[in-house]
């Protein structure tokens, strides 16, 4: 994996991106904007599904209007997010918060998959009903919670508290971030 990441970092477009004067900050800003579109619209979908707002609107109608925006926001958010990763692959790959974020995204993705599969199958029976099945409510609230945590951990990537070039870290942190620490460093630590 590390070889692949190192190769990614050595590609000329990755170098151009991380050294760019305008492109990187533009992508960074666009990423935040698309997060706002994605999460802002998802908020309404999930709040409707958990039965808190717009009860007079049927779920199918709500989804038809709002979900396309969520999907557009999601695609653009992922695209810009990938470019941000691609600009500084090694630092991101070895960043603890980045790894937490990826795990949370996988869980959020599975939750969304389960949720939409069930909804497409059964929502007609409770479309306008005020009694939305508990699992669906739970899934909707979890979705909001998970995506909030994704955004928070994404924000935390900026901090270098657990970075490899900042030693000493506890062994568990170095394990979780796949940091390779030279043994001389630990020998010199004994002297302190």
């Amino acid at each position: 994996m590390m070889e692949f990441i190192e190769w990614l970092a050595s590609t000329s477009s990755s170098v151009a991106l991380r050294e760019s004067l305008y492109l990187y900050p533009w992508i960074e800003s666009a990423h935040v904007l698309f997060i706002a579109i994605f999460f802002g619209t998802l908020l309404f979908v999930d709040l409707r599904l958990s039965g808190y707002v717009f009860k007079e609107l049927s779920i199918t109608e709500m989804n038809k209007k709002v979900l396309p925006l969520t999907i557009i926001g999601f695609i653009l958010m992922c695209l810009t997010g990938f470019l941000l990763f691609y600009a500084i692959p090694i630092r991101n790959y070895q960043n603890l918060f980045f790894r937490i974020k990826i795990i949370l995204m996988i869980i959020a993705g599975l939750n969304a998959y389960y949720f939409h599969r069930t909804m497409n199958r059964e929502s007609k029976t409770w479309d306008k009903d005020s009694h939305i099945p508990f699992v669906m409510k739970f899934s909707a609230v979890s979705s909001l919670l998970l995506w909030s945590l994704v955004i928070i951990s994404g924000r935390m990537i900026a901090y270098n508290w657990f970075d490899c070039d900042r030693q000493p870290q506890s062994e568990i942190i170095n394990f979780l971030t796949s940091c390779i620490v030279e043994t001389e460093l630990y020998e010199s630590l004994d002297g302190i």
Binding site: E19, Y24, E28, Y52, F54, A158, N160, D165, P168, E182
Partner: protein
């Protein structure tokens, strides 16, 4: 209910807006305002990267060599302030003022936040980012007084 949601979202968006003022990452999270540094050394290399450029400086003191990794602003802000690949070539002897990171073990390198850099010709340039919450030490010419 909807009213309440409007109110909550207004509060959340306002707090996010105000958080944004503190730039990419806040100074106090990583650096120690009570540990100012003033180092003179040779530039080893410059990592000309977003979102923060890193200047590696080798400082020789009493025969002992220490490497400092000094964080600067974005490549864009550095260029605007008059620091480019030509002016900060490896080998250039520079004076850097800034603040050390909270961890001070210097393993494998010392880490610091750079405020300004003085070139061999005496030119002194701000090398950080504005509005990070760093101490108001007069290094940033755009600082609000």
């Amino acid at each position: 209910m909807i009213n309440l949601i409007y109110k909550i979202s207004a509060i959340i968006s306002f707090s996010i807006l105000s958080l944004n003022i503190s730039s990419h990452h806040a100074f106090t999270a990583e650096f120690d305002a009570n540990a100012p540094i003033n180092i003179t050394g040779k530039v080893l290399k410059v990592e000309w990267i977003n979102p923060h450029a890193w200047v590696h400086v080798e400082v020789e003191e009493k025969g002992k060599k220490t490497t400092w990794m000094v964080e600067g602003g974005t490549p864009n802000t550095l260029i605007r302030n008059g620091i480019n690949k030509e002016s900060i070539k490896p080998g250039t002897v520079i004076v850097v003022r800034g603040y050390q990171s909270k961890g001070k073990l210097c393993l494998p390198r010392c880490i610091a936040n750079g405020r300004d850099v003085t070139f061999p010709d005496g030119r002194k340039v701000f090398m950080g980012s504005s509005g990070t919450g760093a101490p108001r030490d007069g290094a940033d010419p755009r600082e609000r007084r």
